[in-house]
């Protein structure tokens, strides 16, 4: 119904992605609204949420406990304490209950940590056998956020302030207390250590971001199983509402050294989840990241990689999923993680297409791409709600402003690598 309103109010768009823009104006998603798409994206949210439940716990563990350990051999070995850590958005004692399930680690995750793909054996053997969650992927996302600076927000500028350096200094001295070698090194090369702490702050940032997303995705999966979602826009709107509900949650970096808490970025700074974690994350990971070693040449003379970081376009929205499983394609790590936790209906679905189980990694990768287009749609709609006008506004000028905003967003997908064209068709799998 909203479609008819907008169409009568302002002339149709002449943009290359006019169809998508009209759908967004009608309150839809960039992803076409089909039951198949809904089934795929919800299934993959579920499969993504379980490793994500590990990612956020481990990211916080590294930021808070491993801290500056020069030889962090066991940083991927989560202690029980962090597996039992209560998610702030699930369980009975939640700050804001998004998921109705348990606040501790997801049972499927615990089962996987125990048995992996093989059988029950000590964690170390699972690790050496590479039967584990690929935490390197989470670290790669963190690195993308760290390296792509200047994406708005106050978090990143804060890392360069004297206040931050003083906080970090206290924590570094406390951490290396009684270790003259490291303290001496710190005296010689203070920036080296401060930079490491900045990286750890991003560990905390990303960990706190995913602490929200994991229960959101779990809850969406549950709602879908109960028949709650009628279409892709419903799923997108759930995300939009979630984003607003959670927007003000604090982003901080606390370090625990010998039972004492050092606040490197205190909660009192007032850094908010939406502006300091979610939006930079979407920009850094969905749009930018860095060129895959397996697809682009870093040769400076070949000029394949842009000079400006803002021109980077190697995120999941642009990624070529077909070479997943090949050397030099980082998302393989994530696809491999999700593979362990696919819901049955998705496995059945993949079995019926392409090469069935043989190329499930690619099929789920493309599904993941679809789902991330839906998440990006939610972000775009949320931004529009926050900055511009409602979709059912009657003032044509307001509608035109919305239109310009959507068109500007869609302009980013005009380049040939963008998969927006592909995901419009169900045949892209």
């Amino acid at each position: 119904m909203t479609t008819t309103i907008t169409e009568t109010k302002i002339p149709p768009s002449t943009h290359e992605f006019a169809n998508v823009i009209h759908r967004l104006e009608a309150g839809g998603s960039m992803l076409p609204d089909t039951p198949e798409n809904l089934m795929q994206i919800i299934g993959i949210y579920k499969a993504y949420a379980v490793p994500m439940d590990f990612y956020w716990r481990d990211l916080l563990y590294i930021a808070e406990r491993v801290f500056l350990n020069p030889l962090p051999f066991f940083k991927y070995f989560l202690p029980k304490e962090y597996l039992d850590l209560h998610n702030h958005y699930a369980g009975d004692d939640a700050d804001l209950r998004i998921w109705r399930g348990e606040a501790t680690a997801h049972p499927e995750l615990l089962a996987f940590i125990q048995k992996g793909e093989t059988f029950k054996m000590p964690k170390l053997f699972h690790h050496l056998n590479h039967d584990r969650i690929n935490m390197e992927f989470a670290e790669a996302c963190m690195n993308a956020m760290l390296w792509h600076r200047g994406m708005g927000g106050q978090f990143d500028p804060y890392l360069d302030t004297d206040e931050y350096k003083a906080n970090a200094d206290r924590a570094i001295k406390a951490y290396f207390q009684g270790n003259p070698v490291m303290l001496g090194l710190y005296k010689l090369f203070p920036e080296m250590f401060i930079e490491q702490v900045r990286q750890l702050s991003y560990y905390a940032n990303l960990g706190l971001f995913w602490e929200v997303m994991a229960p959101v995705f779990f809850e969406m999966s549950d709602i879908y199983d109960e028949g709650g979602f009628k279409g892709v826009p419903d799923a997108m709107n759930f995300l939009v509402n979630g984003i607003f509900a959670i927007a003000g949650r604090p982003i901080y970096h606390h370090v625990y050294i010998r039972g004492k808490c050092y606040e490197i970025i205190p909660k009192s700074k007032g850094f908010m989840w939406l502006y300091e974690a979610a939006l930079p994350y979407v920009e850094a990971v969905f749009y930018r990241t860095s060129p895959f070693r397996g697809t682009k040449s870093y040769n400076a003379q070949a000029k394949q990689v842009p000079d400006e970081q803002k021109d980077f376009h190697y995120g999941i929205l642009y990624a070529d999923v077909l070479p997943v499983g090949t050397a030099g394609i980082p998302p393989t790590l994530l696809m491999d993680d999700m593979l362990h936790f696919l819901p049955d209906y998705l496995i059945d679905y993949y079995r019926q297409h392409c090469r069935g189980e043989d190329d499930m990694l690619i099929q789920l990768g493309i599904t993941f791409q679809r789902s991330m287009y839906n998440v990006t749609s939610a972000v775009i709609q949320a931004l529009r709600t926050a900055l511009l006008y409602p979709l059912d506004d009657t003032n044509p000028k307001h509608l035109m402003a919305n239109r310009r905003f959507f068109e500007a967003q869609m302009d980013r997908f005009k380049r040939s690598e963008a998969r927006l064209r592909d995901i419009q068709s169900q045949d892209y799998r």
């Binding site: 070529d320 077909l322 090469r355 990694l361």
Partner: protein, 505 residues
């Protein structure tokens, strides 16, 4: 015992064709590969009976047949023919097994009983030709195998099969005519029988021998093929279906080089040194020409076909040189070429049946591990490296022995042939680079997967290629004795070719 190798497949063919029960394609295939496999294992059994130190023909069988025309059923093996017999029975079996490809491509093999019967008859005929110790008997097998091949190309071939089949038929028929003229001439002029052992050309004057030898070389030169006579080959190889291409490239072309050594060098040892140099020149031209043409191809199968012409020319060069080492190299190269070409055709067949194309401008990124044909690609790299003579694989053994043996006789020509080997790397790297490396195209990214049964022939061929490359003794010990015998009777090592002596002075 040897007769079983000829007649078992032919009787098997009759059984398949006349079996009262109607067989499905897969049942026919099972039966045919059973017969092929049994023949192959019988060959292996005979290998164990073979005396590597024995001179001359072994395991011979003699049966007077049509004595008034001198046709006797006289068969036997020596170190020259035995490796080829093994290769033949093995490739027929493999080819029958890999005819499965047609089924996987969606359309079942049409007229399966005729197909498998013809394949088995073809196998029997080639074995017969290789075993024959009677010139007429050889000729009969040589001509009879023409018909199954013609039908195999013409019924199950590609789009242009009519043209290719007819061209093949005409060329090969002429090849037979030349061979027959030469045989008849030799026998009538020396007034001897057609039995190989009794034939002596030495009684003839030099001029007549040269004429007969040149006729013979033209006859076999069509079959090999040498360059001006080669135009049937790219058509026949590309239009034939995969299993037929495997046989054509793998073993049929060896009949030409085999004939050249057995009948050319064997029957005209006196005058061989006079034709050796021109023949070697033709071989070099063949090798270089075919390699350069291969570089220009955009069709996978045509590339393999031209590479086959180039590599078989090394055998001709080695035969022309006629030293014990070069003859040993020639036999090894024939065997190696047979395995490698069969492997390459098999892999090209898999690529074609999965992607529906052989066009290098369309195919891309097939090495993709999940969506492409990674194992096929990997084996293709192996086959291509073997073909280019990379050490560690059987191609190196064949080429190295051939070149080392030929170098003392024709140093310049051998070096030119080495250039052709270098070109092999050029065109095959083009092939790999275009079809297998790079990014899988989104448009062709939904290829069906390769079934295990489709892979097996290629895997077995690859294992053999590597095994014989690492342990070449298994292959060379067959022919060491025989190549020395042939070389000493022809007297080439002590008397290098006339031209060469010229150059030396």
């Amino acid at each position: 015992m040897l007769s079983i190798l000829i007649w078992f497949p032919i009787i098997g063919a009759a059984i398949i064709s006349f079996l009262p029960v109607k067989l499905t394609p897969s049942q026919s295939r099972l039966l045919a590969s059973g017969i092929g496999g049994a023949t192959f294992f019988w060959t292996l059994f005979l290998v164990s009976k073979f005396n590597y130190q024995g001179e001359g023909i072994q395991l011979s069988e003699f049966l007077p047949w049509l004595e008034f025309i001198g046709l006797n059923y006289n068969i036997g093996v020596d170190g020259l023919s035995f490796p080829l017999v093994v290769l033949n029975t093995f490739l027929i079996w493999t080819a029958i097994y890999s005819s499965d490809l047609e089924e996987e491509g969606g359309k079942p093999l049409q007229r399966p009983r005729l197909f498998y019967a013809l394949m088995l008859i073809l196998g029997g005929c080639i074995t017969g030709a290789l075993l024959s110790q009677n010139l007429l008997l050889f000729f009969i097998f040589y001509e009879v195998k023409l018909i199954p091949v013609y039908l195999l190309i013409n019924i199950w071939g590609g789009e242009n099969r009519g043209y290719a089949g007819t061209k093949y038929l005409l060329y090969t028929a002429f090849s037979g005519v030349f061979v027959l003229i030469s045989f008849l001439g030799l026998v009538f002029l020396t007034s001897s029988t057609f039995d190989y052992q009794n034939l002596q050309s030495q009684v003839l004057p030099f001029g007549k021998q040269i004429i007969l030898l040149v006729t013979l070389i033209i006859g076999f030169g069509i079959k090999i093929p040498l360059v001006p006579l080669h135009t049937w080959l790219p058509d026949a190889y590309t239009e034939a279906s995969t299993p037929v291409s495997m046989i054509l490239g793998g073993i049929l072309s060896k009949l030409g080089t085999y004939g050249l050594i057995r009948f050319g060098l064997g029957l005209f040892p006196e005058v061989w040194s006079s034709v050796a140099f021109p023949l070697a020149c033709v071989a070099v031209v063949s090798a270089l020409y075919a390699s350069l043409v291969a570089v220009a191809q955009t069709d996978l199968k045509k590339m393999v076909a031209y590479s086959s012409i180039a590599h078989i020319a090394f055998v001709v060069l080695a035969t022309a040189a006629g030293t014990p080492l070069s003859l040993l190299g020639a036999v090894c190269q024939m065997f190696a070429h047979g395995l490698i070409v069969a492997l390459l055709f098999n892999l090209v067949g898999i690529v074609e049946s999965k992607t529906g194309s052989r066009d290098l401008t369309i195919l891309k990124g097939l090495m993709n591990p999940l969506r492409g044909l990674p194992l096929t690609g990997g084996l293709m790299i192996l086959g291509v490296m073997a073909s280019a003579g990379i050490p560690g694989m059987v191609g190196f053994i064949g080429e190295f022995l051939s070149f080392q043996g030929s170098f003392i006789v024709f140093p310049i020509l051998t070096l030119l042939c080495l250039v052709a080997t270098g070109l092999t790397a050029v065109y095959f790297v083009i092939l790999l680079n275009r079809a297998f490396f790079g990014r899988l195209d989104t448009k062709i990214a939904y290829l069906p997967k390769v079934q295990f049964s489709e892979r097996t022939p290629a895997i077995i061929l690859s294992i053999l290629i590597v095994l014989l490359g690492l342990q070449p003794n298994l292959l060379t010990k067959f022919s060491e004795r025989t190549s020395i015998t042939i070389a000493t009777t022809s007297g080439t090592p002590s008397t290098p070719p006339i031209i060469y002596r010229y150059l030396k002075d």
